[in-house]
Structure formats: structure tokens, C-alpha cells
Amino acid sequence: MFNYFFKRIVFGLLTIWFLITATFFAMHMIPADPLGGDKALPAEIKQNLQQYYGLDKPLPQQYVIYLNKILHGDFGYSYTQQNRRVNDIIREHFPVSALLGVMALSFASLGGILLGAITAHFRHRWPDALVMAIVIASISVPSFVFAALAQLAILGLNDLLERPLLPVAGWGSFSHILVPSMILGLGTLAYITRMMRANLIDVMKSDFIRTAHAKGLSQARIFWRHQLRNALLPVVTILGPAVAAVTTGGFVVEQVFAIPGLGRYFVQAVAQLDYTVIMGTTVFYGSFLVLMVVLVDLLYGLIDPRIRLAGTDR
């Protein structure tokens, strides 16, 4: 077990290192010089930045400086907003994204598990067909389309009721989070539903469920103690990719609903070519995602007895 965990962690760290390095060289390969480009920076800022990043030094030395700063959790200063530290930007905006993401993931996993169980139970009958049609539609429609449609729907609803039931965009209260988090979680929900349905149908057919019936267990006990646990286990493995999907999906949803999250900030930074912010958020987001994937792997290892007890060969 230890071996398995150790391998996962080392692999995760290696990935993060590659990400940091790739980001650094990506920024230095940009055709336009980040500091000398078309934007006229005040000389003072320019000098500060040069000094801060050691831009007058050769590339390898710059890399070392950069690496050192990142290892100390210092992402530097924004390039378009004077005297704003990237760390502050992350600290200010990430909690918003995180809240939205956690809400979306909860919605996706609870909804997906529930819908998966329903469809498996009613398989090949109309509730199954209906849910699966919705599922395939939600996999095929981009989240920004759903976001836009949701906004139109909210507007229509507010008009109909002649009072603002839900806000169309913005941030601040629970009613602001509700619809965006559902939109953000929709794709993952569809994915989990599909997976859960397939798993449950597999489990239902398996021999040990027949044994459970032969033991005279009630349908409810069989579902809760035998089917659900076995069907849920593989779902845990996709939580890693699900975190990634929700994080990157946030770029779009935050944009459409005007939510002041880090995703929206990141997209803006790319549009404004705010290189330091791009570098900082990329490294931050990348490390976050890699860590989440490793964490989910470890979690799975803890849950699944086959890995927890034997799994060094995995």
C-alpha cells in the first residue's frame, strides 16, 4: 500500500514540476517580449519587474529565480494592475471558484448517483429512456449554451412572476450560486449517471447479488449494502477528472454569469496578456488539479480493499 501511495505522490510532484517548467518556457517563447511589447509600460514598473524576475540575467538563471519564488509560494506581481500581487488575486478569487466548484460537484455526484440508480432500476422502461436521453443531450450541449439558456429562462421566469425570483448574474447570495453550480455540474452529472447506471446493471447481474437473494435479504438491504457500494467504487475514480472538468468549466460559467472567480480572472488575464497572472494562475490551477487527482487516487486506494491491502502491483 505504501508503495502505491508513494508512487502516486512522486508522479504527482513530477507532473507539477513539468507544469511549472512548461509554463516558464511557454512564457519565454511568446513571440512578443512580455515586457518590451507594444504596451507602453511605465518605466518604473518595467524596471521593478525586470529586477523582480531577474530579466536582465540569462535564461537558466531566470528559471532558477522563478522556481525559487514559486517554491516559496510567491507568484509575483500583476503585469496590468499595478502593485497587485498574483497571490492576492488567487487568495481573493479562488474561494469563489472553489465554492462554486464544490457546489457543482456535490450536485453532480448526488444527482448522478440518484439518476443512475433510478435508470438502472427502471432499465429499458420509460424513466430510463427519458433520463438517458437527457444525459446524452447534456453531454452534447456545451456548458455555455446551457448557461445562456438558463439566463434566458430566469429572465422569462422573473417576467412571468413579475418579481425577481432568481438573479440572472452576479455573486453574493445563495441564489446567485444555485443555477451556475447546476450548469457547471451538468456534464459531470451526466457522466456519473451513465457510469452509475452501467455499474449497477453489471452488479445486479453478478453472482454475489444472487447469493444475497439466496440469503433472504430484503431488496432494500441488498441495494444499500451490496449493490450501491460496489457500483459506487468506480465512480470515485472519475472524481479526479470531474474536479478538472468543473475547474475548467468554471472558466466559461463564471464568464457568462459574471461571477468573480479565479477562472474568469484567468480568462481575462489571457485576453489582456497579463503574463505574470497567467503564469501564476496556470501553475496554481495545474498544481491544484494534479493534487486533486493524486488525492482521489489515494482515496480510492483507501476505499477499495483490493488496493488498500494488496495493491502494490497497481
Binding site: 453472482d207 454475489f208 480493499p305
Partner: protein
Amino acid sequence: MINRAMQTNTVALSVSDFSVSLRAEGGDVKIVRDVSFTLEKGQTMALVGESGCGKTIAMLSLMGLIPDQQIASVSGEVLLQGAPMLGLTQDELRSLRGNRIAMIFQEAMTALNPTMTIGEQVAEPLIVHKKMKRADAMRRAEVLLSETGIDEPKRRLRQYPFEFSGGMLQRVLIAMALACEPAVIIADEPTTALDVTTQQQVLSLFKQLQTQHGTALLLITHDLGVVSHVADQVAVMYAGEIVEYGGIEEVFGNTAHPYTAALKASTPALQQRGQALTVLEGQPPTAGYVASGCAFANRCDRAMRICTQTQAPWINRVDGRANGKADGHALRCWQYHDANPQKETLT
């Protein structure tokens, strides 16, 4: 009434005229036809036949383990310790299953939940049927495991199925089936997936536990070698019907039905050294095939005209009378009918 009460005391399971039809594309298919047998307390009966002859379906539907939507009809009478089992509601059946009648399946490797500990799974019937507390049930499970010959039961309780070998898992399944001290255990090919040594161990474990707990065992198998080791009685099944029935010595020592004879001739364990094994030509009829006469006639060396026209009645092996009763050693084959002129030439 007295007779009935006496029966209840000694008869664990009595099945008469049990028939099962399943739904299939293109109409219902009668898989099990008029199966009858009696299983005495503490006895072992083997239900023998080729794969697909309906023996597993018969037992699964007896247990109510075939989903309702797949069953077209079930008829006959099944008495578990004198109480009828057919026509019970799902809840009533559920309170019997695993409690008074238990079933063990073929693939021990897949028959246990991979994500639950052995202890939890063995204790489960006790918690459900005997309303035991978890801790008590676990203690009982430990005893059961040690009874079934598993070393270090305390440690093993906390392990998962993947940490067990196939033979060990079979022992766990037996322990689980025994948990509530059922009157009857139905074991569906319990040793097929095991190697020969483990087979022997599991079989003798069955014997030992049976004498210990007085459980009746219904062994479903196609392996006559196994049958000759453990069974007290044998019922030979062909195409959904029982064709020969009787005590082990009678059926194997005085084999009458051509099908039983053919099965015997193809089993190494029952053949004498130096005797050639024979192969039974042809294929068994597909499930639900309805023959006008005897289903085995087309594969039978000694088929007669009447065999293709009418199925034989139950014929007593000893006196050759067609008395319609499957008492003692009986079979359904015209060869042994009084009216058969060639009867005397049979040995």
C-alpha cells in the same frame, strides 16, 4: 393427519409434480416437467444430469430466485418440512431463504461480495433472520468458520474475499449457508470449480457437517464421481424430467435407464480399470423441446417404436409394474415395462 405429522418429522423437502415454464422469445418454454422427489432429514440427494437439463432452473425457481417477469408458470407442490413453499409471497419466501433453506452456488470466487468482509457476509443471515446483534453474529460467524475448517477464524473474519483461495471461499459459502441451521441446503455444483484435492475436502466437510447439524443436502451436479461419494439417493434428470430415481446403491449398482447407463459409462471414477470409456452420441434436446415420446429416444441404442410415441410411466425396477409411483428404485423407460417381450434379456 398422523401420517402428515410423521412426514414433517423426517421429511425435510418434498417436491411433487413440480413444473416450471419460463418466458422466451416465441412463447413460453417448459424447462422443468413434473419433477418429484423426497429429501429426508440429514440425507443427501444428488440431482444429476447434463448441463442445461433444467436442474439449476428447477432449484432456483423453487427458491424463488428467478425474477417474476421471467417466469411464465410454476405448478406442483413443494413442502419444506411440511409447509408449502409455492405460492408464498416474496416476503414470506425471503424469511425462509437463508434461514430454513439455503443455497450454495458454483463459483465461490464471484459468489461473495468483493467489498464486504467475510465476517460481515457470514453474519448477515444471522442479523437478518435471527435478529442477532452484530457482535453476537460475528462471534457466531467465527464459530461457523472454524467449524468449516478455516484456520485463524478471528483474523479471517476481517478479510475480504480476494484474500481467500477458491476452496476456502467454498468453505465460507458453506459456513454462510449453515449460519441459521437450515433444514435444507441446496448446493449447485459446489465442487466443479475446485481442484480434485479440494473437492474431496469440501465433500467430506459436507458429510461431517450434515451429521453434526442434521441438515438435508440437495446436491446438483453433473459429476457422478462426486455423487457416488456423498449421496444417499440419486435423481437422474434428462430434458427437464427425472428419468431414474432411487437409492445410490440401487441406481448405480443396478442401473436401469439407458441414459443413466450412458452417463455411468462416460465417468472414469465409476468404470473399472481397463474398461473403455464410452461417449454418449448426439446432443440433448434444446430447452423446452417437446417430444411426443421419450426425450432420450433419439440417442438411445435400444429405442423401440413406443419410445417415440409415448413417454413411459413410472415403472418399479423390482417388479416391473407401472404403478405410477416413484417408490424405491423407479424409472421411466419402456424397457422395463411388463409388456416388453425383450425384458428378460435385460440385465
